[in-house]
Every structure is written in C-alpha cells, then in structure tokens.
C-alpha cells in the first residue's frame, strides 16, 4: 500500500512539475494553448487529395486530407503486405530447395535493413531510373505507354486510366463538408448486394448438403450474381476509361499516383511482407505434425489438408502478431514525411506546425490521432480474433 501511495505521489509530482514548467515557458514566449488556429486558412497546397481542398481551406481540413492520405497508404500497404507475406511464408516452407532459399534471402534482406532506408532508396530509384515525361514525346519516342497506351510510368509518377461515366449521377454533398460520387456509391451498393446474395446461396447449398448429403451445383450462380449486375450498372452509367495524355510538359488526365505514394507503398509493403512471412511460417510450423498425419490418414489430399486442417489452426496463432504488424505499418507510414508524401505527419505535424508555430498543440494532436488509429485497428482486429478463436468450454 505504501508503495502505491509513494508511486502515485511521485507520478503526480512529475506531472505537475512538467505542467508548471510548460505554463511558465509558454508565458515567457507569450503563447497560450488553444485550438482556434485549426480554423484559420492554411494557405498551403496539398498535391495529393481525395476531398476538395485548396490553400484557402482551414488547417483542420488540411489535417483531415492528411489523415485520409495516411489511411490510404495504410490500407494499400496492409493488403499488399499480407498477400505477399502469406505467399512468401508458405513458399519458404516449400520442399523446393531453391525456392525456399530465395524466400529466405528475401526475408533476411528486408528485415535487416531499416525501413526508412528502403523508402528513401525506392524514391531515389523511381526518380533516377524511370523515364521523364518528355521522352514520351514525338513520333518515335524513347519510352511508350504500357498496357495498350493506358498506363504512363514516369519519373514524376504513374498515370493510370481513370473511370469516367458518360451519364453519371453526379456528386452528393455530405453535411456540406465533402462530396462523394454517387456513381461510386451505386456501384458499391450493387456489388455488396451481389456478394450478400451469393452468400445466401452458399448457405442454402450448405443446408441442403447437411440435410441430403448432396451439394447442388451453385458456383456459376454465385459468380453470376456478383459479376453481372455491376456490369449492367456500368453499362447504364456509360462507363469508359479516360486515358492519360501528354500535354505540355506533363501528362494530363487519368488517375495520378505520385512517386512518393508509390515509393512508400512499395517499400512499406516489401518491408512488412518479410515480417508477415515469418509470422505465417511460425504459425504453420506451430500446428503439430500429428494434425497433418491425421488428415492424411482420413484420406484428405494435401490441398484440402492445408485448407481445412492446417490453416484454420495456424490462423489462430497468426492473427495476434499480424495485428501488431498492421499497426507497425500504419505507424511506419508516418515516415512519409521523408519523401514528401502529404500524410497527417506532413500536414498537421509538418507545414501547419511550421506556419502557425504551435508545436505543442500540433504534436499532441498528431499523437492523439495516431493513438486513435492504433486503438481503432486493434479493436477491429481483436474483434475478428475473437471470432476465429477456439471456443473453449
């Protein structure tokens, strides 16, 4: 008990000492602590944005644009890192000696070199080794567009074809804060409805199999339900691809992925894939050999053994460390500042901080945002973990 009181007293003393110092320092500098600066015009531009933003918008909106950019890179990175990590982890266990060795090299090389080095290096390689937009010019250009003249890979970024709609539905404003394309909403609605119906069909087939022992042939219907309605919708909306074109010194049109985004994406997903591969490998090795042998003695083929016996058990071991890798990737995405990608560290913790001179508020807010993202991700993943966890009685 005494220890607790002493610890608490020590902690309180430390905190009050820090706060009193801060107040004293702020007084000397003539600053207060307030958040009104967030509502002043930001007067800087952000080159990568999903929602409307201009230099007249507020600092708060700039921070919001940055937050969206952080989430974009986090989601993109997590998806590719997981796919690559699972593939590499399984291949590393392959019986094929040369494949296993290549994967070991991959894992060791990416794990043992700092992620910041990978990011800066990838950025430098993209800038130095990709063709300049000017080389695409002329009748007999040095470089040409890829994939039937639709993708331009340049040292300023990559231009992808852009989905456009001949008779689109327009945008809808949400609370007057930002706008969402109705076409996208309609497309996603139809797609998810299709997936939902497809799941219903699967459930009915499962029920029938349980009852009669025969599984009706359903996969053509399931694919049709998911694929056909969106295609019809796209046709109705007059869907076409807007290709990037060289105008002046640069490409115009199309979806523009900046090099900073691509470098960050590649580097983060390669780096994290090495860690995920190790997690996957450890998870599979953690399933005891008896399980495989039992499955074989039941007459299951290797593929089915993997899918029905090994993976479901390995998943329980894999998911908790996988969550922390996703968190790491999200936190590492704050290194975007080193290649000039405008994520929330670059907006709120970078330019806003420098322009307003409010270090204290900006950095504390930045920390709070990251804390929120981390807690959010771990909450979602823990919920998922609890659904696959073994139900012990």
């Amino acid at each position: 008990m005494t220890i607790q009181i002493v610890a608490l007293a020590g902690f309180m003393l430390l905190i009050s000492w820090l706060i009193s110092n801060t107040i004293q320092n702020l007084e000397t500098l003539g600053k207060g602590v307030e958040l009104w600066f967030l509502f002043e015009p930001s007067s800087y531009d952000i080159n990568q944005k999903l929602i409307d933003y201009s230099s007249r918008s507020t600092h708060l909106r700039a921070a919001f644009v940055g937050l969206i950019n952080t989430l974009i890179i986090a989601v993109l990175g997590c998806v590719t890192a997981t796919v690559m990590g699972i593939a590499i982890g399984i291949l590393r266990l392959s019986n094929n000696w040369i494949v296993a060795k290549i994967m070991t090299c991959w894992v060791e090389i990416f794990r043992n070199v700092p992620v910041l080095l990978w990011i800066v290096f990838t950025m430098a390689v993209l800038i130095e080794s990709l063709p300049r937009p000017a080389t695409f010019r002329g009748d007999n250009p040095e470089s040409s567009l890829l994939f039937w003249d639709s993708v331009a890979v340049t040292n300023r970024g990559t231009y992808l074809p852009e989905p456009l709609f001949g008779n689109g539905l327009g945008d809808i404003g949400i609370f007057g804060i930002f706008e969402i394309s109705l076409d996208l909403v309609a497309f996603l609605t139809v797609l998810f409805a299709g997936i939902f119906v497809s799941n219903m069909i699967k459930k009915r087939a499962d029920k029938k199999q349980q009852a009669t022992g025969h599984r009706p042939l359903v996969w053509p219907y399931r694919i049709a339900v998911v694929v056909i309605p969106p295609i019809i919708l796209l046709y109705i909306l007059g869907f076409y691809l807007g290709k990037p074109e060289l105008k002046g010194f640069n490409f115009q049109g199309g979806v523009y992925l900046r090099n900073s985004l691509i470098a960050l994406w590649i580097a983060l997903s390669f780096y994290t894939s090495a860690f995920i591969a190790e997690i996957v490998r450890a998870g599979i090795l953690a399933v005891s050999k008896g399980q495989t042998e039992a499955a074989y003695s039941l007459g299951l083929r290797p593929g089915l053994t993997m899918n029905l016996i090994i993976l479901p058990q390995a998943l329980r071991v894999i998911i908790p460390p996988l969550i922390s890798q996703f968190l790491n990737l999200t936190k590492n995405s704050s290194l975007a500042i080193s290649v000039g990608y405008m994520d929330i560290t670059g907006t709120l913790g970078g330019i806003t901080l420098n322009q307003t001179g409010r270090e204290l508020e900006s950095i504390l807010l930045l920390m709070l945002v990251f804390l929120g993202i981390s807690l959010g991700i771990s909450a979602v993943m823990n919920w998922y973990n609890s659904t696959v966890k073994i139900k012990e009685r």
């Binding site: 005494t2 220890i3 607790q4 009181i5 002493v6 610890a7 608490l8 902690f11 820090l18 110092n21 801060t22 004293q24 320092n25 702020l26 000397t28 392959s94 019986n95 094929n96 000696w97 040369i98 494949v99 290549i102 060791e108 090389i109 794990r111 043992n112 070199v113 700092p114 992620v115 910041l116 080095l117 800066v120 290096f121 430098a124 390689v125 130095e128 080794s129 968190l327 936190k331 590492n332 704050s334 290194l335 500042i337 080193s338 560290t345 913790g349 270090e359 204290l360 950095i363 930045l366 920390m367 990251f370 804390l371 981390s374 807690l375």
Partner: protein, 434 residues
C-alpha cells in the same frame, strides 16, 4: 534326416544403395524435381537467380574506385571495360566512407571513436559469453562513463563524479535497506542520486578541474557526431537502457498493485500507440517546453531518452509474454520457499521468463537499431542524412544504388549478427523443457 537346411548358409553380398538415395542426384531429384509443379518452380526460380546474378555481378565488379565524380565514373567505366558497360561507381564510397562512419568528427581524433568502439566490444564480451571471467563485468560497468568521456571529451571529473554518485547512492540504499527496510532505502537512495546529479556534479567537477587538475581532452560538440558512429551510440545506449526499464514496466504491469499497474499500462499503451517519429518531434521541439526555463540539454541525449522510452515499452510487452508463458507453479514455488517479491523475481521467475523471451528481446533490439535512422528526419546526420547530403553534392548528384547499397550492407551486418547471436543463445540455454 535329410539334408534340408532352412537357414541360409552363405550370405548374399551387399548391394550398392539405390542410385537415388544419399547421392547428389537423389538430393536433386527429391528437392528440386519431385513433381511437374516443383520442376517448373525450380526452372523459373533458377532462371531468375541466373538473370539477377548476370545483372548484378558485372555491375559490382566492372566498376570504378578512383573517379572523383559521377560524370567521370560514367566516362571511365566504358573506356576501361568496353563500350556499353554500366558498372558501379564505388568511388563515392572510397571518397566518403570516413564521413559515413564518423560524421564530422575531427579527423585527428578518430582514434577516440575507434577506441570507444573496441572497448564497447570488450565490455560486451562478458555479457554475451558467460565463459569469460566475471571480473570483466567491472569494466562493463565503468565503460559507459569512460566511453562518454572519450567521445565527447572535456574533463574526466564529470563522468567520474556521476559514477561516484551512483555508487554512493547504491551503498546508502544497501545500508538503509538492511536497517530501515526497502522502501526507505529506495526513496532516500534515489533522492540522493537525483539531488547529486542536479546540483552536485557540475559545480564540483568545475571546482576540481579548476583547482586540482583539469584532466581534460579536447571537447567534441554533438553537432559533429554523425554517420554510423551516431547510429551505434544511440542504438547501444538505447539497448542497454531499455532492457532494465522494460523489465520494470513488465513487472509493474503484472503486479497486483492497482495504481502501479495502471500507470505502467497507460505508459506502455501510449508509447506503443504513437509512431517513433512523433516522439522524436517531441524530443526536438517540445522537450524545451516541458523542462525548467533555460535548460537546454544535448540533442543526442534527448533523442536517446526518447528512443529508450520507445523501445522500453515494446520490451515490456515482450517480457510480459515471457512472464505469462511461465507456469504458475514457478511463482508459487518462489513464494513457498519464503522468498520475498524481489528475490523470487530475481532468482526464479525472471531467469526463466527472460530465456523464453530472448527472440522477442533481440528483435526489439534490432528494431531499435534500425529505428535510429529516423533521427535523420529531425536533422541529425546519421548515414541516411549523410546520404542525402552526398546526393545533393554536385559531384555525386544522381548516385543511388552504390551509396544506399553500402549503407544497407553495413546495417545488414549489424542486424544479421544480432539475430544469429540470438539463435546461438537460444540453443545454448535450451534445457529441453520449458
């Protein structure tokens, strides 16, 4: 009795083993071409390896070591090795390797960095390899102060008095611990040390160096530190300091004391929830707000403190895993033997828990060492910061692969060595049961 013998009278000669068993051919057959899919994989990946080697090896070896700029490299290499050769320009490494290793440390004082590094290896040896004589640990204890003095220079009195303060504080703690109990001992000892650090060390060392003898070597400012020296300083200090703090945090998190527990949980979860870079921002801009007006202490020290706190939170989680993996019986056995909390932790629980968590601890160390590169974002000149500076030099503008390959290779050597050591340690400590 007929002459029917059912027992073989003469043995058959032994046959050669099947060709596919135990021979190189058999190994190839089983490991590379055991089926159509496997053969396809082998062929594809074999071609990939050959292609990569054919690209990389000429680039590495048909190179220039002597040029003075990237332009010169690009001219010299085709002249030497024939038209169309694009070799590496290792000349940039030859010209700048000293900078990449030592930063802007004064050239005539490099021996101090080298000596510190060698002494670090000597100080580490008894910790890493238990077979060495235990007396060497005294050197390991003195080393941080000696290393600090050698690297930053100045009078030896400051680190000496700091060390003396720690030793006296420990003696007072020991004395009071026996006479008055643990709590009083800890409080008085800690307060004594803090008081001595804040108000005693600097005046006394100034007094001693002015009135007795300076015993000083040339001072090197923190701005002159850089390159791998800086990475190793931050990394090694962080590693050494984060393990004990991490152990304390983990014990705090597992303890029954509600307030201590919630303080530890709050700290760990907060640190783990934010990226290191925001903590470094705190070190570079906010720490001045939090400390008494007028204090302005060294940027490297501020960074080391933040990196240590960051790594300690992760360390705490790793060790907590080890503590949780230990069977309850071990804790109960400690209690049943009549050991108090600290003794049962020190003698029974922690040795086993730490052994279980070695892989996690070492990978936290590796992560910490890699994370030292982040200091380039707040403007310190670690290898990545220096690479940026070199690349913006007109002579080397446009160089990418050579420079980053070199930096990456050095980091790889450090990190890979650490991971191999952890595997060695795991095998050595393996007792067959957990």
């Amino acid at each position: 009795m007929s002459d029917h013998s059912f027992v073989r009278t003469e043995m058959l000669g032994s046959q050669a083993p099947p060709m596919m068993e135990g021979s190189v051919l058999g190994w190839i057959r089983y490991n590379l071409f055991s089926g159509p899919l496997n053969s396809l994989l082998t062929i594809i990946s074999g071609l990939l390896v050959v292609y990569l080697l054919a690209e990389i090896l000429p680039w590495v070896f048909l190179s220039s070591w002597t040029a003075t700029s990237l332009r010169e490299c690009r001219e010299v290499i085709p002249l030497t090795y024939g038209e169309g050769t694009t070799g590496a320009c290792w000349a940039v490494i030859r010209e700048r390797y000293l900078q990449l290793f030592y930063g802007f440390y004064p050239r005539e004082l490099y021996w101090r960095v080298n000596l510190t590094f060698i002494m670090m290896l000597i100080a580490l040896a008894p910790i890493l390899f238990p077979k060495l004589p235990r007396q060497m640990l005294y050197f390991s204890g003195v080393y941080p102060f000696l290393g600090y003095w050698l690297l930053w220079g100045g009078t030896i009195w400051t680190p000496f008095l700091t060390l003396a303060g720690l030793i006296v504080g420990y003696l007072v703690f020991n004395f009071l611990n026996e006479k008055r109990g643990l709590l009083i001992g800890t409080i008085v000892g800690t307060l004594l040390i803090i008081f001595w650090f804040l108000f005693g060390v600097i005046p006394v060392s100034v007094f001693l160096s002015e009135n007795v003898t300076p015993l000083a070597i040339e001072i090197v400012e923190s701005e002159q530190f850089g390159g791998f020296t800086l990475s190793v300083i931050i990394g090694a200090t962080g590693i050494a300091a984060s393990l004990p703090i991490g152990i304390l945090l983990a014990l705090g998190r597992k303890s029954d004391l509600l307030i201590v527990k919630s303080l530890c949980v709050g700290f760990i979860e907060f640190i783990r929830g934010v990226p290191l870079i925001t903590l470094l921002f705190v070190a570079s801009t906010l720490l001045n707000y939090f400390l008494p007006p007028g204090t302005n202490f060294d940027i490297i020290l501020r960074v080391v403190i933040m990196v240590t706190l960051f790594a300690a939170a992760y360390m705490a989680e790793v060790i907590r895993g080890g503590l949780a993996a230990l069977p309850r019986g071990q804790y109960e056995a400690g209690d049943a033997l009549g050991l108090d909390y600290w003794k049962s932790m020190r003698l029974i629980v922690l040795p086993q828990a730490l052994k279980i968590s070695i892989p996690g601890i070492v990978s936290t160390f590796i992560g910490l060492f890699k994370d030292t590169t982040l200091v380039s974002i707040i403007g310190l000149l670690d290898p990545i910061g220096l690479s940026r500076a070199i690349r913006s030099d007109t002579a080397w503008n446009g160089i990418v692969w050579e420079l980053y390959a070199f930096v990456a290779a050095v980091f790889f050597v450090f990190c890979f060595a650490m991971s191999r050591y952890s595997i060695y340690l795991e095998k050595k400590l393996e007792t067959g049961h957990r």
